[in-house]
Amino acid sequence: MNTAMISKNLGVLLLVEAASMLPSLLVAIIYKQNDISAFIITIIVLTIIGFIMYRIPARNKNFYTRDGFAIVSLGWILVSLFGALPFFISGAIPSYIDALFETVSGFTTTGSTILRDVESLPKGLLFWRSFTNWIGGMGVLVMMLAVLPAAGANTLHIMKAESPGPNPGKLVPKIGQSAKILYLMYIGLSLVQIVLLLIGGMPLFDTLIHTFSTAGTGGFSNMNNSVGAYNNLYFEIVIGVFMFLFGINFALYYQTLKGDIKSMIRDEEFRFYSFTAISAIVLITWNLWGSLFGTVWESLRHSFFQVSSIMTTTGFSSTNFDVWPVLSKTILIVLMFIGASAGSTGGGIKCLRFLLLFKTIKREVRRIIHPRAVYTVKYGGKTVSGDVLLGVMNYFFISIILFAISLILVSLDGFDMVSNFTAVAATINNIGPGLGMVGPTGNFADYSGLSKIVFSATMLFGRLEIYPMLILFAPTFWKRVNI
């Protein structure tokens, strides 16, 4: 490992984090609450440490895949550790582990919370909480790449390790340019949502909070009852639609903007994503109609919002879906694992992986019927290489293992099965609320410190798609000379 170069990059990352705290500081100053000094202290600490790390001289400028991975995993951990400071210093969240949980939940766009009363939090901290959602959605390091003037070829490893999906690519030949385009589209879509919510009459502060959380598919609200608190159909439609939009692969937006309008409809993953969402909405509407809500429109309203929220792994709620019938809840749990599209801001295992797994199964079935036949798995008209398919299957396996380990560790606290199961599912897939104790009206506050650390780790594993975090546990990774 090239420690000096890694430290240089991490230093820049911390400086970027310090800069990204400035808007929150501004909000804190405007509302004159007790969180101003917490932000100022954190920003100063970040700047000093970031600057020192940046100034470490690097004799050897070589930079390989493992260094890129190290930057991503260590970077996310560092950013979370420092991002928790404002909560802790201001005293809003007295326990540092709780503050860390909240920050990791923010950056990984999970949206799980340990706060029993969100509304009592100072405005600056509320803003920072949602802002971490926004930055974490497109990626902290992608932002660094977009901001830095000279992003070289080596930084591709960073982008690859941070971007979701089995085979992330660049939009344009230059990586720095790609990162800029991604963020511009991200900002553009966010602006549209802000305008639409403002037109509907949502207060500016609430608009910003909800837009940041929607864009990053995070799900932090400033209301205890999430979006449901407004009980406003217009807000639910706008947020519901935008959650769905942010769950689409951003490369498709780029192609559409470039003039290839049909590219989105032609895209297999988009079709799979839409088809799954629509089927789930129809099923849940049918299930809710008559049992919980009197009219079909009322059922449709909540089923649409909840499906969009859970599938894109946002985690907003318009109503307490913990009291829904079992079929509806089960469908929601299944959606948790499917997740959003690759290359979007959403989490989960991703539609693309499911699509490829289905295609592989189809091939296996055909092989039994025609043992000597040669079939290739195709996606978008192109043959998918065996390596990619194997990677998808491995990913699936390792997700299950990770899920099992986390579930066992969390079970030590002795809470009920549904709560534990959905809590792990909600954190590993970066959704936010689960069912039972951690349902839309509940929170993670009652879990023990150990469980909260486990949850924080699972969220990071889920957001970075396991491997960047997993290599931290490989002993050879830490050696200077890797053999």
């Binding site: 895949t65 070289g152 070829a153 930084t155 344009v172 030949p173 230059k174 990586i175 340019q177 290489s385």
Partner: protein, 456 residues
Amino acid sequence: MKIIIIGDGKVGHSLAEHLSQENHDVTIIDKNPEALRKASEALDVMCIQGNGVSTKVMLEAGVKNADLLIAATSSDEMNMVCALTGRKLGAGHTIARIRDPEYADELSVLKTELGLDLVINPEQAAAREIARLLRFPSAADIEHFAKGRIEFVEIAATHDMPIIGIPLKNLAGKYFSNILIGVVKRGNEVIIPNGDFKIATDDRLNIIGRPNDVFAFCKQMGKCTQKIKKVMVVGGGMIAHYLAMNLKLNDIKVKIIEMNRERSIELAEILPDTLVINGDGTDKTLLDSENLSEMDAFIALTGRDEENLISAMMAKQSGVKKVIVKTTRIDNPVLFHDLGVDSVVSPKLITTNYILKYVRGLSNAMGNPAETVYKIVDGEAEVLEFVANKTIKFLNTPLKDLKLLKGIIIGAIARKNDIIIPHGDDMIKQGDNVIVISIDKRITDFNEVIAPVGGF
């Protein structure tokens, strides 16, 4: 600029590397996923897998908005089709690699008919380079600037030179009146010598000056041996073919040793004035019986770097003064220099440099682009030629008042018929051809050689 490179071979990869470093948007098309994987991991470029001739693939690569398309696959015909299709689909400029000697004579027709802007023949270019080296045997590398008025020569310092071990400032009047030692390469280190610098044996000196003065300097150093009359070439490939044709014009006798019987016959047919010998170029007895020790120069041109190196070492052992080796894969000429090889010729690097030169000319339509760019001392430094026009911010300022960036030297100024080896009081005037040596920096505009005011 948006550049599409078709063919991710040796030349394609090297081009992509340099062009992406010069901040162009590069897209590579190739059929081989393995080669593309390597490129996408090492370079900041976009890779597309597919057949470069296919319109669909080309459109996917964005040929419509591409400023330049470079066809560098292994097949001439494919390159022609790629360039033609690319041009029809909207590529601004097209470059194709065409190497078969049969097409070489028809290049002008091909160029106009296919709408090609540049045709590069690596073998022919390599042969030309070798011929140039043979004309000045003591130099390991020669480049020309300002239409041949300035010469840039690399020579190796030997222990019998009178300048070894004496600080340069003490030698100034005696030897260095009209030339400048721009860069010295010692081992792996690139040094810009100052007055206190002492030349040591085995240093590689890069000298800049008027061709006559450089020649006179070499003569003083005892480095100018007799003219080369007899050359032995091992490996009868396309370079040998072009080289033999080229050297015939200079009345140099060429003996080609080729392993393959059919190819030998073919060569003998095309090159009636050249002696073609069918045999193994690494066979010492054969080389001796063909009077290896009597040869003025020995050139190893087989397709295998190892064989070239072995025959070159045998030649050196037999006392041949000038030994040139062609490399195909090995990128590190230092290895060869350490083993006693005088000059190393890499068709890949020559091709890359040639195309880079063209691209730089294209991309800098505004500002003050480099006219010529050569990579020297194994690619670690560049020599650039600029023509000073009105956009230069430091015209008529004495050089001693200029804050040049670290690693930049003004090597020579060609003004009308004068060649000036600049000193502190000299200044750059409009219309001058200025030769700049740059180490470790990439300069694309003449104004960049000055440290920016108030910047980092």
